[in-house]
Symmetry: D2
Subunit: 361 residues, 4 copies
C-alpha cells in the first residue's frame, strides 16, 4: 500500500507537489452532521502560512486559499469524502532551475531520485514541507470532530536553537511568531535566530503537543498503541528526528518508583510521566508528546554534494529561506496529533457502546 | 481496524495472553522459496528468553518452544501464511490472584479495564511483555528474508540506569547479559542493577538499533516514511517512551551546517546525522535508531493505587521481577526494525523493477 | 497486502494447508463481553464436516476439533485476538504422491505453481476446500455477535445438478444432507447424485443465503457496498463462479417498473428485488444472495493435462471424492455472509451513535 | 475503514457529489515513468459521457473536462499521487427540488438517509452514477500501466432489455451506441429501447468484460482471489445485481467432465469455462466476467413511495432520463476490471522476482 494515506477510520489522503498546479487532501470517514465551512479550515491553515512577517520567515507569500469540493451540504458534513483543494499560486520553479542536476544535502533529492528514477527539482516536489498544508487543512476538520467530544489539542515551541522555554503559559503562544509559551524565552530565541540567519545557517528546536480532555480508553493494543501512532505521526513530518511521550528519554534514567504515576481515587493520576498513555491506551490524563526538529537543510553556506552524473559539486542554496522550521512546524505537529486522536476516537466508539451496555446490565 | 497486525506486505498478526494456553503469530506475505525451519526461529527466540541467569533477570523459566504450523513445505517457505505457535507452560496465574481487584501503577491494568470492561488480572494479559515473544518469532522469518537481500540488523544496549556505553564494539554484545557493546560499561551496569534491585526498585535505559546493507530507496513518502514506521514500531513496545533517528534530539541543538550530511561521489555520505534516512527514504547509509526504555513498573516498594471499586490501596508488587526490561527488550527492538525493513523491502520491489527498466532504456 | 485476511473491523486471518499439521484462524476486532466457548464453534464446524454419511460425500473422517487459544477469559470474549486451532488428523499425503508432478484440471495446482514456484501436491495445499473450516470457525464467533444484534443468517441449497428447489421451507434444511429447503426436490437430487457418482463424474448447484433482522444502514458507499462485499466474499470460495443479489441476473430482463421495490409506510418495501440492499446500503429487508457452485473438479473420468515438465498426461483422479461440493459449501456460504455482516455492523456503529444524537436534538 | 478507496497497491480514492462543485479521484501507488497526459484520460472519459446522441440517452451535456493536478512531471508519472479533477458544470439542482422530501424507489435515497441522517436530494448526491466518472478517469491511468505489460481489457454489451448478442465481433463495439459486438442485435436493441422509452419505462442488460494478455499468476489466494476482487469490483457499480466468471451460473448445471478445462502443452487450456482463473489465480487464458445490470430506477410511470415524514406519496420521476444504464455502464465495467488487474499486477510483481530468481538457480 502506498504511503500517502493516514488513519484507519478518519482517513486522509494527501496529494500535490510544491510547484505543481495545486495540492489537496481527501478526508474519508468524517462522520455526518458536523458543522463545517471553509473559514474554519482557512483559519487553521493561516497559522502555518509563511510570510507573516516574523524574524524567522521567508518572504514567499502563499495565499493558500482552501476550497471545499465535496462532502459538505448546507453547512454540515454528509459522511461522504471531503475533498479540499489549495491552488499553488506563488510557485516560481525557475529559481530552482540550477538545482535540476544537483542533490541538496539534507533534503530528499537524492533518495527520491534513487527510489523513483525521477528528478522533480522544483522545490522538493512531493517531499517539500509545503505538502503539510494539506495535513493542516485536514486537521481542521478533525478538530471540529474532537471539539464536539471535548478534546482540545495545543502545540507550542519549547526549544529553539538551544534556547529552552521554561514556562508553559498557553496564553502567550499566539502572541509571538515562535508559538512559544514563555515570553522571556522569546527574546533569546529572536536573538539566536538573527545570529544564525546572519551566518547563513539554520537551527532546529523542540515542539510539545498537549491534548486535554481525552477520555480513558483511546488506542489499540499491541501495534496501534496510541503512543506508537503519535510517534509515527510526528516522525512522518520531514524535519522531525525524535519523538517522546511523557517523561520520554528522561524515563531512561529514572527509578521505577519515580517514574510510575500513582493512581488516586476516581482514576486520577498524581503525576504524568506516562504522558497520559499506559500500555498504548489513554488513561484520562493530558496526553503529552514532544518532537525534535532538525535545522532546515537549505542554507547559504557552501556544502559538498554531487550532481546526477555523480560528480562532486560545491553548493550554496540561494534565495531567502527560513532560518528555522519551528514556527511553521508547530501547527503541523498539532495537526498530526489531532488526526491520530480523531481516528482513535472513531475506532474506539463501537467498542464503548458495547462495554457501556454490559456495565449497565 | 483492530491493532494486532503490523506491516502491509510482510504482515504479521500476533495473538495470545500472558497466562492463556498459548501465544503465536501468523505471518502473511512472506515470499516463497526461502529456507526456513524451527531451529532458526528458536535460536532468535532464545535470545529474549528470561532465566538465562544474568544479574538482572527473573527466575521464571519459559521454554518458549516454537512450532511451525503452516507455510513451510520441505524446508522452504511456500508463500502461504506461516503460523507459529508457542505454548505457555510456566504460567502460575494463582500468584496474580491478589491483583484481581487492584490496578498496578505503570501497567495497562487500568486502561485495559476502561477500554474493554474486562479485568484479565493474570500477568497483564495481552499487555504483558510476553506478547513480544510472538514478534521476535516473526522477526526470525523477516531476518531470513533480509539476509537474503544483504541486510543485517543489530540491537544493543547503550545506556542502563544512567550508565552509558561509550564504545560500539559489536563483538562484545553477545558476551554479556545486557547486550552491551562496551565491556567497561558492563561492570558499572551490573553494579547499578544490584543496588537498584536491593532497593526493591527498577531502572530503564536506551537501546540502539543499526541496520547495515540497506539499499537506497526503501520507505514510502509522506506518512509511511521509513523513520515514521520505525518510530511507530519501536514505540509499540510497551516500555518504550522515546525514539530517535540518527542525531535525534541532538539535531534540535545543531546548526544546519553541522547537521547536514555532505554527499560524496557514488552517493557516499560523509556523516550520518540523518541516521540513513532522508525525506523518509533510505539513503544507503546505516540506519540508526534509538529507543528510550522506562523502568519496569513492577517494584516491591509500596505504591498508591486503587481497586476496581475506586478505593485507595497501598500496593507492593511481590514476586521476583526483573530490575530492568533492557536485556529482554533488546531483541524486541531488533525484531521491530527487522519487521519494518522486511515490509519495505517487499513494498519497494515492484517499483524498483520498473525504475531499473526505465534506466536501462 | 497479502490475501489471507478478511474484513476491516471484524478481521480474520486464516492459515494452514490441507495436509500440514494444523489449520486455524485469528479473529481480530471481536468486541469484548460476548459469551463464547468451544462448543459453540464446534457445533457450527460440525455442519461442514464431511463423512456425515450422506449420499454425496467422501468417507474421509476429520474430527475437526477446535481449540480456543486466546481472547476468551472466564467464558467471555476480552476484545483481544481470538486464536482458533484445528489439528489435521486424517491427512494421508501419500495418496497424493502420484500427483507430485501432475497438474489436476480444474484445480489450482497449475496456477499456484506459476505464482509461487512451489508444488505442494498434498491435496491442494492452501487452495484446498479444507481451508474453509477456518472460515466457518470464525463465522461461529461472528454469529454470536450478529445474534446479539438480532441478525440471523441462513444458507441452503436451491439447485443441485440441474434439480431446482421450488419451496423455501427452512424447517426442512437441517433434515437432509443437501441442506435443501424443499423435501420433494431432495429425492430428485439424491437420484441425480447417484447417477453422476456412478458415472465417475460430479455436479454443481446453487446456494442461497438469507439474512433476516439486518437493520437499515449497514454498508459503505461506493466501493465497500454491502452487496459488493457479499459478492466478493462468496466468490472467494473456491468453487463459486457466479453471485447474484435479489433479482440478480433476472433483473437484466425486467422493466424498471417491475424491478423497483415500492416503498410503503415505515420504510417497509412491498417487494424485494433489491435483495435488501439499495446503493450498497441495507434497507431493512431480508438480504438475499445466491452463489453458483461449479462441479467438483476431482473426477475419476480420464482427463487431459500436463506434468511439471510440460508433457501431456492422461489423468484419472482416484480415491473417493465428493460428487458435489454442495453440502459442504452451504455452511461456508453462510459463514462468508456472516463475516461480512459482522464487519459492517461494527463499521456502522460509530456513525449511528452520532446520527442518533443529531436526530434527538 | 470508510468505503471510498479501492485497491491495495494501485489504490484510488474517489470523492464528489453529483451536484456539488466537482468530483475527482486520487490515485496512490501508480509507478513512476509511465507516459501520461490529460488527453489520454479525456479520451476514455468521453466514452462514458452521456449526450452522444444515441437512442438511449439523456440530453444532459456534461463536458467532463479532466484536469491533472499532481503526480505527472514533464509528461511522465512520478510515483507520487495523481490527483484528477472534474468540475460539475451542467448541474441543475433546482430540478430536484420537489424530491427534497421524497425517497425515489430503486435509488439510495432512503438508505443513505437511514445511514447518515442527511438528505442530499440533488440527483442522488454521492450515490449517483455520476460518481463513476472518477473511476473511469482513474482506470485510464491503470490502462496505461496494463498496456505497458501487454494486457488489454475490453467491455461490451451482450444483452439489453431481453435482446441477446450472439456474436462477439469486437470491431463492431465502437460502431454503435450500445457498445454491442453484434451488429444484428443492435437493431433489435434499438427497437426495444424505443418501445420502453415510449412507455415511460426502462430496461437493464448484461455487460461482458474480457481481459487478454494477462499472465498466469495474478491474484492472491483465499480472500483476495482475482475472481473475488473482480466480482466485488463489478458489484460495487450501483446498477449491477449479478456477476459471473467464465461459465458462471451455467457451471451450476454442468458435469465436472464438461466444466473442467483440459490442460495442453505449454499450459494452454483447451476451453475456458474457468474464465481464466483457477483457485483465484490467473491461468494465462483470457479473463471473462459478466455483470447483470438492472433497469434504471428513474421512470416516468407512477410509483408508490413515502416522504421523510413516512407519509405515502405517488411519484413520477420527471425529466428526461436514460431508458437504460447500459451504454454508460459499459466503460465503468471495463474500468473496474482494469483497476483490479493493475492492482494485482503490482501486488504480484515482488513475488515474481523471487520466483524467477529461484527458477534460474
Amino acid at each position: 500500500m502506498p504511503g500517502n494515506s493516514f488513519g484507519q477510520f478518519f482517513r486522509i489522503t494527501t496529494w500535490g507537489e510544491s510547484h505543481g498546479p495545486a495540492l489537496g487532501v481527501v478526508i474519508d470517514g468524517c462522520p455526518p452532521l458536523l458543522n463545517l465551512d471553509e473559514s474554519t479550515i482557512q483559519k487553521k491553515l493561516d497559522k502555518r502560512r509563511p510570510g507573516k512577517g516574523g524574524a524567522v520567515e521567508t518572504p514567499r507569500k502563499e495565499p493558500d486559499r482552501v476550497e471545499i469540493l465535496s462532502g459538505v451540504f448546507e453547512g454540515k458534513t454528509t459522511g461522504t469524502p471531503i475533498s479540499l483543494l489549495i491552488r499553488n499560486k506563488d510557485a516560481k520553479s525557475s529559481s530552482y532551475d540550477r538545482l535540476r542536476e544537483v542533490f541538496r544535502p539534507g533534503h530528499g533529492d537524492y533518495t527520491y531520485w534513487k527510489k523513483y528514477g525521477v528528478r522533480d527539482h522544483r522545490g522538493g516536489g512531493r517531499s517539500s514541507g509545503r505538502e503539510t498544508a494539506a495535513r493542516v487543512a485536514a486537521a481542521a476538520v478533525a478538530q471540529v470532530l474532537l471539539r464536539s467530544a471535548g478534546i482540545d489539542v495545543r502545540a507550542y515551541t519549547v526549544a529553539l536553537g538551544g534556547v529552552a522555554a521554561v514556562r508553559r503559559d498557553l496564553e502567550e503562544v499566539e502572541k509571538n511568531t515562535f508559538f512559544c509559551p514563555d515570553a522571556e524565552a522569546v527574546e533569546s530565541m529572536e536573538k539566536r535566530i538573527s545570529e544564525v540567519r546572519a551566518a547563513g545557517d539554520s537551527v532546529g528546536g523542540i515542539v510539545e503537543v498537549v491534548a486535554a480532555g481525552v477520555p480513558a480508553g483511546l488506542g489499540e493494543p499491541v501495534f496501534d498503541k496510541l503512543d506508537a501512532e503519535i510517534a509515527g505521526a510526528l516522525m512522518s513530518i520531514g524535519a522531525v528526528k525524535g519523538v517522546e511521550i511523557g517523561a520520554g528519554f528522561q524515563a531512561a534514567v529514572m527509578l521505577g518508583s519515580e517514574n510510575n504515576d500513582p493512581i488516586g481515587p476516581e482514576g486520577c493520576f498524581y503525576s504524568n510521566n506516562s504522558g497520559g498513555i499506559l500500555a498504548g491506551i489513554s488513561n484520562g490524563n493530558d496526553i503529552v508528546a514532544r518532537a525534535a526538529v532538525k535545522p532546515i537543510p537549505s542554507i547559504s553556506r557552501e556544502q559538498d554534494t554531487i550532481d546526477m552524473s555523480g560528480k562532486p559539486v560545491k553548493l550554496r542554496v540561494g534565495g531567502r529561506h527560513d532560518a528555522s522550521a519551528i514556527p511553521r512546524i508547530v501547527p503541523v505537529c498539532e495537526a498530526m496529533v489531532q488526526l491520530v486522536l480523531a481516528d482513535h476516537l472513531l475506532r474506539n466508539r463501537s467498542i464503548q457502546t458495547l462495554v457501556g451496555q454490559a456495565r449497565e446490565n
